[in-house]
């Protein structure tokens, strides 16, 4: 499944880059992300609790930030495993200044397998879009709070 999109964060690209790579901010803003424990430079063990109405599960996995080139780009690699199957995401994230704001583009691929994949890709992408929007809304709130 292709993942791509473009969002605006009301902050400079330096600030936006810092927010999106700060494990504490991510734990606060990413729906379902409970804990990120550093395991090495740019790599974290992740505990996720995904809840989509009736479908709920605890997922464990790793999150790595690779090819980091602050504040312009990095690559996000996520692997997770849980009762419904596995999820792996590999996506590049780019930051470009757009006036007072940072324009964040992401593009990559997500692979979903196991029982959860039998729900059908269309529903998974609908849910993924919803969660991604929530995540960026939360990050935008953090950016505004950091300004004040």
């Amino acid at each position: 499944m292709q993942l791509s999109g473009n969002k605006h964060i009301p902050a400079s690209i330096d600030k936006a880059y810092t927010l999106l790579t700060d494990p504490e901010v991510l734990t606060r803003t990413m729906p379902g992300l409970k804990r990120l424990t550093p395991i090495s430079e740019g790599a974290y063990a992740a505990d996720l609790e995904m809840g989509v109405a009736a479908i709920k599960g605890k997922y464990q996995g790793t999150m790595r930030i690779e090819d980091a080139s602050p504040p312009h780009s990095y690559r996000l690699v996520l692997d997770g495993q849980g009762p419904g199957g596995f999820v792996s995401v590999n996506m590049s994230v780019e930051f470009v200044s757009d006036g007072d704001e940072a324009s964040v583009s992401y593009q990559g691929e997500a692979q979903v397998g196991g029982t959860i994949a039998s729900m059908g890709q269309r529903m998974i992408s609908g849910v993924a879009n919803y969660l991604t929007n929530q995540f960026f809304q939360n990050v935008a709130k953090e950016a505004i709070q950091a300004k004040n």
Binding site: V52, A53, A54, G84, T115, I116
Partner: protein, 290 residues
């Protein structure tokens, strides 16, 4: 297939169910007919720790007229809806959609509230309740609220219902007298779920469309109202030329991922659904009740 272990509780009142739900809203689930939730639990996709059965709460059952609305308890089964004289008189579209859900067992056990809260984007009922402008009565720890069906579905399987809240009833405004209704779906050959489901009501005078609403389910990532299409139809002659122009407009309100098959399927089913009215008028006279 076995479910993960869970605790089962049977509530006698809505207050009791809300109280139990408040103990651990994230890990509790309300059990209505169970025909969507239990299969998910058997696949271990859903693992609620507490199941709160609302099936014995009499306040949640039944259909009655409240002024200009038909009020349907959340724990009212598809079968009760199909057989209800009130529904068939004042909002027959709801019965037409309920009649096509699943099989006899599902219609005997499954409920309207369960279907709406589960929010499967391929369920039948959303097309009808969207077209009918339903209002949802919701109760939670902080009291009662009403919510329009518009805006209730946020994403597949996600609604605006907060974790501690329970849907108690669905209020459907009576249709204008003489409204024509239809629900037409293309069922998936294996599951029976709609690949596309089109729910329509129209009022027509002297072959001219006065008013009408169209709800569509199954084909996009969310059920939706085809508002562009509704606007186009108002004031036009209900004839072959209008129907031919109308078909493609349903896609304006949907996210179909630029899929040409879905686009075509949607157009074909909207066209067929509207053509049914043409046929029923030809058979029964244009201003007659279908």
């Amino acid at each position: 297939m076995y479910t993960a272990p869970f605790e089962y509780r049977r509530a006698d009142t809505v207050e009791q169910a809300i109280g139990w739900l408040a103990n651990d809203p994230e890990n509790s689930k309300v059990l209505a007919g169970g025909h969507s939730l239990l299969p998910l639990m058997k696949l271990v996709l859903a693992q609620p720790q507490v199941l709160i059965d609302i099936g014995r709460i009499t306040a949640l059952k039944g259909i009655r007229i409240e002024g200009d609305d038909v009020q349907i308890g959340a724990f009212t089964t598809y079968r009760e809806i199909v057989e209800s004289p009130e529904v068939n008189e004042f909002c027959p579209l709801l019965a037409q959609a309920a009649q096509t859900v699943g099989d006899v067992q599902v219609r005997n056990r499954g409920t309207i509230g369960g279907s709406l809260c589960h929010a499967d984007p391929q369920a039948d009922m959303p097309a009808a309740v969207l077209a009918l402008d339903a209002e949802l009565l919701i109760e939670g720890p902080s009291g009662q609220r009403t919510q329009s069906i518009d805006g209730f579905f946020l994403a597949p399987f996600i609604t605006s219902l907060a974790p501690g809240e329970i849907l108690t009833a669905v209020k459907i405004p009576k249709l204008p007298a003489g409204a024509h209704t239809t629900y037409l779906k293309r069922p998936h050959p294996a599951s029976g779920y709609p690949l596309v489901g089109v729910g329509i009501w129209l009022t027509v005078h002297d072959q001219v469309i006065d008013n009408g609403h169209i709800g569509i389910t199954g084909i996009a990532d969310l059920p939706f109202r085809a508002r562009h299409l509704e606007d186009f139809l108002k004031g036009r002659l209900l004839d072959a030329a209008t129907i031919a122009q109308a078909g493609p407009l349903a896609a304006d309100d949907a996210n179909l991922d630029d899929d040409p098959y879905k686009k075509n399927l949607l157009q074909v089913y909207v066209t067929r659904a509207l053509s049914q009215f043409g046929e029923s008028f030809a058979a029964k006279g244009l201003n007659g009740k279908s």
